[in-house]
Symmetry: C2
Subunit: 330 residues, 2 copies
Amino acid sequence: MWFMRQAGRSLPEYRAARGDGSILDAIRRPELAAELTLQPVRRYGVDAAILFSDIVVPVAAVGFGVEVEQGRGPVVERPFRHRADLARLRPLGPEADTGYVLEAVRLATRELDPLGIPLIGFAGAPFTVASYLVEGGPSRVYARTKALMHGDPALWSQLLDALADMALASLRSQVLAGASAVQLFDSWAGALSPADYERSVLPATSKVFAGLADLGVPRIHFGVGTGELLALMAGAGAEVVGVDWRVPLDEARRRVGPGHALQGNLDPTTCLAPWDVVEAQTRDVLERGGGTGHVFNLGHGVLPETDPDVLARIVELVHETSPAHASTRR
Amino acid sequence: MWFMRQAGRSLPEYRAARGDGSILDAIRRPELAAELTLQPVRRYGVDAAILFSDIVVPVAAVGFGVEVEQGRGPVVERPFRHRADLARLRPLGPEADTGYVLEAVRLATRELDPLGIPLIGFAGAPFTVASYLVEGGPSRVYARTKALMHGDPALWSQLLDALADMALASLRSQVLAGASAVQLFDSWAGALSPADYERSVLPATSKVFAGLADLGVPRIHFGVGTGELLALMAGAGAEVVGVDWRVPLDEARRRVGPGHALQGNLDPTTCLAPWDVVEAQTRDVLERGGGTGHVFNLGHGVLPETDPDVLARIVELVHETSPAHASTRR
């Protein structure tokens, strides 16, 4: 078990270490990024660390002109609009462009490896990164993104292919530097109909997972609002399919089919509820998860206003309740 | 067939008639509201008009202190936080509080009735209206709303009950004034897990539909991202269940079960695509809709940047293709 965005503003030690600067600046300081990666492991006793990072790190590193505004998200100075914009997405050289990421991975795994705690590498999936590049910032309807997807499918697929190559290069380099699993964040894929997802997104996402296969690390594929996409996502090649809180895990398992583990799916807002509600919903998630082939997590990231003590109690409850955990620790 | 938000900024005649004032001010002018209701019928030849209104009209009318900001949505001066706030939600007296709504219904139906075109009445569902009152404005995660729902279930259910009574009073009065169908907008219900929806929202929503039963008009129940809620929504009492573009209609029909019509579900962003994409996706919706028991619509409201000519072509295509339409018009 672990929590998406466990390294985040809900932790006082995170706020103290991070201050008010840009998240991209924090990511460019390997000691700080490693420290932020490790904080939740120390605090909560979760079973995995996730690299402190952001989905726009590779595109920012090749100079596309992206910043992440506090409380808003990624914003792009000159959004992707024309074929000529492809030239602004040159291939990522992980060591040269994002050496700080790899240094953070090395620093974090130096502390995690002796504890037997895996580090999960981090990248944004082609569709979700593309949505920021095309919209110029966060969106509710993705009108420009879908207009490009429908209006110029050739350019769209070149864009997604370039972003797939960047995600792949980044994740491979993270694994070679010491990460022992990866998560590909396709947070906003749930905005698409199944037909559009299958035709216009799945090929690029599958390319990322296929390119990681020889490394032999578990691959996690995550998105929000993906109830109708779960079967397609399962076919993209990851071992683990993330599920948000909208789809009960037993139903998700029917859609995903055999041969995959599931990750999820407590509603992050439930962590703001009284403990009896948190406990009941956590137990429900564990029960529907079925005991094996289940990575307990929230259905999306930890909310900044979450009380860390509630997360600590959830970890305790999950560990007590999970037979798999008890057997590995004995 | 009709389009959600067919009376909106995509129409030049709408922008000309409305100007830049507050939508609530426009709704309070019955001649203008009726005109805006009728414009899309004249322009597109859709099979139904929907009353030009907003989901916060009743709460604004009883003085809760709500405004609708252009491009942002409803904002509440003093959000709902405590038990004492219940007193600010006194029962709606439709004639006294929203006489302008009923006058708009009368003016619109005076023109629509001779054409045999039904007017659909309009109200916000308890959960979605509550989300604005509690958050104070639009939200992505509904953290405060769910915190109240989980943290004080008694107060939550009183709040939803009060809003159900207001929606019911408003819809009844619209039908008595001439509307011949109603749609209850629970736009954001899809943020909830099925268990939370069933326990904390469904009772209030069901109360609205039950209270309309004796009027004998078709009732439509709409939300976005409701793939996992469709079976529960179908049990709330409406004849028609709205479906967004994420769930193909043939799959939606399996979840909703027999005895209900479906409404939907072309992705509104598809209307920004080249015509061959619009045509293919429109035909796909019609095919999956199955020819009967299907009200063609978008999966959510028309986007402001939509070209009205595209909507007109969709109407033509749906009418040409639909056997039901051909037989009623002969």
